[in-house]
Point group: C2
Chain length 178, copies 2
DNA sequence: AATACCATGTAAAGAGTTACATGATTGG
DNA sequence: CCAATCATGTAACTCTTTACATGGTATT
């Protein structure tokens, strides 16, 4: 399970609460992993039970209290162990492509509408990633750790660009039948 | 759940057994969806129970008997209904990128090795898709249905090319630190 | 003689989604 | 006043993976 490893890796950078982590999945971690808060809270409980994380309660006055999680040495070595095991390329599961595959059962205009909606969403993600690239990676010289971060963002950028190109290609091809 | 829709769509093209369908997930359907035979057999049982599929036993002499599934009119309308509901872009979950993200806990050479292994696998998938493109879509003029098929393959092609490019970029960037 | 292919499944565990639940504070 | 943000969870359900199970035929 890689959600646990994503959490350990993220907490290895900076201690955080479940809420913080959920927000990280909306930004940096979000380029390549998705997790809901329900999943995160459950997984954090499990990881601290296993001794991979320490928990500390942070009292707050005008806001709900927070549980701050920190990576333990045991958690760190667990993460290192995982890094040495080979992983397989991710398998894709894409509903839009199932729809295109099933295109014969619907009218081209139906597919065109949906492609346009998807194109728009990918466009927005791309714009977001581009603004992040500008604000966080403006420096010329990046160290090893920054390079790693930059590469995950680059993946997100190229992934969204690729989608945009494919959507355009698909829209053009389907226009002949609409 | 889109596995069921992928199965209905595929059976809408040609009736098939669970075994056949599992092989389709290794080729055409495999560009965008993944399913194991265990999942497929279970789902087929459920879909025929719901009246979306008909089953017929095909006796064989020197091989195990086969159950051939066919799309029913009810299954067809169920598929059409689904096609009209908007779907969201797929969320990615990629373990390799989690590893890059966690790069600070390991040596660059570790990441480089893994990137090379992934690059090789994507290269092989690309070669496979390219050979399929040549043998199945050689004709200039494609009808609507063929265009849909072609588009799903094109997605697979661009997806793998995108991965190769990113792997090369990542390998180059990490070479400075190895 | 060993491996791969054909062809079907069951069972258990793990991962992920959706719905429900609470309650104060801040901004428009 | 309404919506969003902060902050944590539980419960039920669905989907996916992994392990187990069987047994004949064809190929190297």
């Amino acid at each position: 399970m890689a959600l646990s490893h994503a959490l350990l890796a993220s907490l290895g950078k900076t201690p955080a609460s479940g809420y913080d982590l959920a927000r990280r999945f909306g930004s940096s971690l979000g380029y390549f992993w998705k997790a809901s808060h329900q999943q995160i809270y459950k997984e954090l409980a499990k990881l601290s039970e296993q001794g991979f994380l320490d928990v500390r309660l942070e009292q707050q006055s005008k806001r709900p209290n927070r549980k701050i999680y920190t990576l333990t040495p045991l958690g760190e070595s667990h993460l290192r162990d995982w890094l040495q095991q080979e992983v397989q390329p991710a398998e894709s599961r894409d509903e839009l492509l199932v729809k295109i595959y099933a295109g014969q059962w619907t009218h081209p205009s139906q597919l065109i509408n949906e492609l346009q909606a998807h194109r728009h969403k990918h466009q927005q993600k791309l714009a977001l990633y581009q603004s992040i690239a500008q604000s966080y990676f403006a420096a010329e010289e990046l160290d090893y750790s920054q390079t790693c971060m930059r590469l995950t963002l680059d993946y997100g950028l190229s992934y969204e660009k690729n989608w945009l190109n494919w959507c355009d290609q698909a829209l053009q091809a389907l226009a002949h039948f609409a």
